[in-house]
Amino acid sequence: MIKTVKLGLILMVFCVISAGLLAYVYIITQPRIVRNSSAAYDLSVKEVLPVASSGEAVRVAPRGYGGPVVLLVGVSNEKKVVGIKVLSQKETPGLGAKVVERGFLDQFIGKGANDPLEPKKDIDAITGATITSRAVCEGVRQAIRGKK
């Protein structure tokens, strides 16, 4: 009994030291982490929407092959796509992961609510990644509809 309590106490001492150390590192790094992520987001917004007053940057996350494909789509006040960027994706390397390439994404620029936005119709799909290509099309449609 005494032995068990003693073991528990030793374990607790290790936990307390570890927690204290982590709290210290957290306090030091947290401001930088927050700054990094908001700076990265602001930069992405500027990329898809060069002039802030001309439209809205809409974040959509359609379901791809390996999880959500998070997109930031710049939609102008005329409801046309002016910029598009992939914020995060977990698609297959070498196939669906090509979704980040400009050659594919730039096809969406200039599209609007009246375009079909479908692979084989007005969009050339990524070879071997139909699901990913369809997801991006779906995301762009959502973004255009979502723009107020």
Binding site: L7, S18, V25, T29, I33, S88, G128
Partner: protein
């Protein structure tokens, strides 16, 4: 002599990936490009060296029955520290490694070395063992990364060598990792047979 032995043991003779075949999960997952492989190696090296050092230093204070939970607390503390530091100072690398950083906690190389070496040896020897094992892990991981990226995407460290359309995509998909590891292991065994 013994110190040198502790350092170089992990590099080739007991290479964690190619000889001991432990920690293969992150090896399969992040070796699809040379840069990811290098980033993962650096993170593992930090955690493995620090945890070996600390565990060796406190080994006499740790009761036998609860050594595993204590090792895990120490390892996960260092993993979380490296996770925060990467997020704060190298966000691009953090984005590329993503989920695999927290997974270093369960990398069997680290717990394996804590149990098999650091718990029974002095601080200096354990630190050298950590550095040697990290070098061995890094060497294997980066070699696999370079080969896979070269054959599968036509580039090395992001520098294009030839037209990616001519590359064998399978090499950057999971089967490519198994194929590459198998060839490297076979090569190393052949080399060792020759030496003997």
């Amino acid at each position: 002599m013994s110190l040198w032995h502790d350092l170089n043991q992990g590099i080739i003779k007991e290479n964690p990936v190619l000889r001991l075949m432990i920690g293969l999960c992150p090896v399969l997952a992040v070796s699809n490009s040379a840069l990811n492989a290098l980033g993962m190696s650096v993170a593992v090296a930090f955690v493995l060296t620090c945890s070996n050092l600390v565990i060796a230093a406190i080994r006499k204070l740790v009761p036998d029955q609860i050594r595993i939970p204590i090792f895990i607390i120490i390892i996960s503390t260092f993993v979380t520290i490296s996770d925060y530091i990467m997020q704060a100072f190298t966000p691009e690398l953090y984005a590329a490694l993503g989920v695999f950083v927290p997974l270093i906690v369960v990398n069997c190389i680290i717990l394996g070395r804590a149990e098999a070496f650091a718990y029974r040896n002095p601080v200096l020897n354990s630190t050298l063992d950590g550095i040697g094992m990290s070098l061995g892990f890094g060497l294997a991981l980066v070699s696999i990364g370079v080969i896979r990226e070269m054959l599968g995407a036509g580039s090395v460290f992001g520098l294009t060598l030839f037209n990616p359309a001519a590359a064998a995509t399978i090499m950057i998909l999971p089967p490519g990792a198994f194929i590459t590891i198998a060839f490297l292991m076979a090569g190393l065994n052949k080399l060792e047979n020759k030496v003997q």
